[in-house]
């Protein structure tokens, strides 16, 4: 089964087909929510609520779009709602955004994670979409529903902020 077939079935009332979409995208959704929220439990809550929103509004799904691009808008809305409500005291520095891998020194990984977590959520989000997910400007524009020129300028300022955070760590 692919996304289109699953969506078709859900639209015809077969709610079990939704399991395919949840299991295909849940890890990606939680990882994206972690990058916005900086908290794994909040990220799981946001992803769960976003999947339920997706199920309830699947009849409005535009079949010319990819499921995850459409779902990502719901996920972001849930993340920013949770971020607006949640408690202030969290140790964001413990969150890992970047996967450990060979060739990346542990201290560099920690510095990158901390510099990312010190960014505002929307800067962190756009940097992660560009550099960790490798999306093009057009794909980011589709995910965030903003013009390509805005992607360019938001990335520019987010990069500068990240550069400043990294310089602070090494001072």
């Amino acid at each position: 089964m692919d996304d289109a077939a699953a969506i078709e079935k859900i639209q015809q009332g077969e709610s079990d087909a939704f399991r395919f979409l949840v299991e295909s995208y849940q890890k990606q959704a939680v990882a994206h929510a972690v990058a916005i929220l900086g908290d794994r439990e909040d990220a799981k809550d946001a992803a769960q609520e976003a999947f339920i929103d997706a199920f309830r509004s699947i009849k409005t799904f535009d079949k010319t779009r990819r499921f995850y691009s459409w779902f990502y808008v719901l996920l972001r809305n849930r993340c920013y709602k949770i971020a607006a409500k949640r408690r202030e005291t969290q140790n964001l520095e413990e969150i890992e955004i970047i996967a450990p891998q060979e060739g990346l020194a542990r201290e560099d990984k920690i510095a990158l994670d901390r510099a990312l977590m010190a960014l505002p959520a929307d800067d962190r989000e756009i940097i992660a979409l560009k550099y960790l997910d490798g999306l093009s400007y057009a794909e980011i524009a589709e995910r965030l529903e903003i013009p390509r020129g805005t992607v360019m300028s938001r990335l520019f300022y987010a990069r500068k902020a990240l550069q400043t955070n990294l310089e602070k760590k090494y001072e």
Binding site: F18, R19, V22, E23, Q26, K27, A29, V30, A31, V34, A35, R40, A43, K44, Q48, I52, D53, F55, R56, S57, T60, V73, L74, R76, N77, Y80, K81, A83, A84, E96, I97, I98, A99, P100, Q101, G103, L104, D108, L112, A121, D122, I127, A128, K130, Y131, L132, D133, G134, S136, Y137, L144, E145, M152, S153, L155, F156, R159, K160, L162, Q163
Partner: protein, 137 residues
């Protein structure tokens, strides 16, 4: 070089670095870089940071959300009875108010209220889940 010019050039250079097209030609970018030391320094610093970041991946997240999602899928929101109840109560209240006043006024106002209510109801479902982007900070 003014700040706006430098920002525009740096933005375009980063787009080129990201493998994207820009409105500025390579000649324009190179001639600016040749004459602006600030931009040269800044682009070198940014490029070294982002060359490192570009090679990284997201930390995968373990998640098994289906068991929590499945029971909630069957919980449908039956909103129609509430809408009909609200329309009925408003209509009843109007009828009650109008019976005490000039009946000519009732003839004029009732069709207008009905048309307005129908328009609002058909144009927008208040229980619809918003799929448009709202950036809340």
């Amino acid at each position: 070089m003014n700040k706006e010019n430098c920002e525009e050039i740096l933005m375009a250079l980063m787009a080129v670095f990201d493998g994207e097209k820009t409105d500025l030609s390579p000649e324009q970018l190179n001639s600016h870089l040749a004459s602006c030391e600030n931009c040269r320094t800044e682009i070198e610093q940014i490029q070294s940071t982002f060359a490192l970041l570009k090679r990284q991946e997201r930390q995968p997240s373990e998640a098994n959300l289906w068991s929590a999602i499945e029971p909630r899928l069957q919980t449908k929101i039956y909103w129609q009875p509430f809408v009909f109840l609200a329309v009925f109560l408003v209509a009843y209240k109007f009828a009650e108010m109008l019976s005490a006043s000039d009946p000519g006024f009732a003839f004029k106002i009732v069709p207008l209220v009905f048309v307005a209510a129908l328009f609002v109801f058909l144009k927008e479902n208040p229980f619809k889940i918003n799929t448009e982007l709202i950036l809340e900070k």
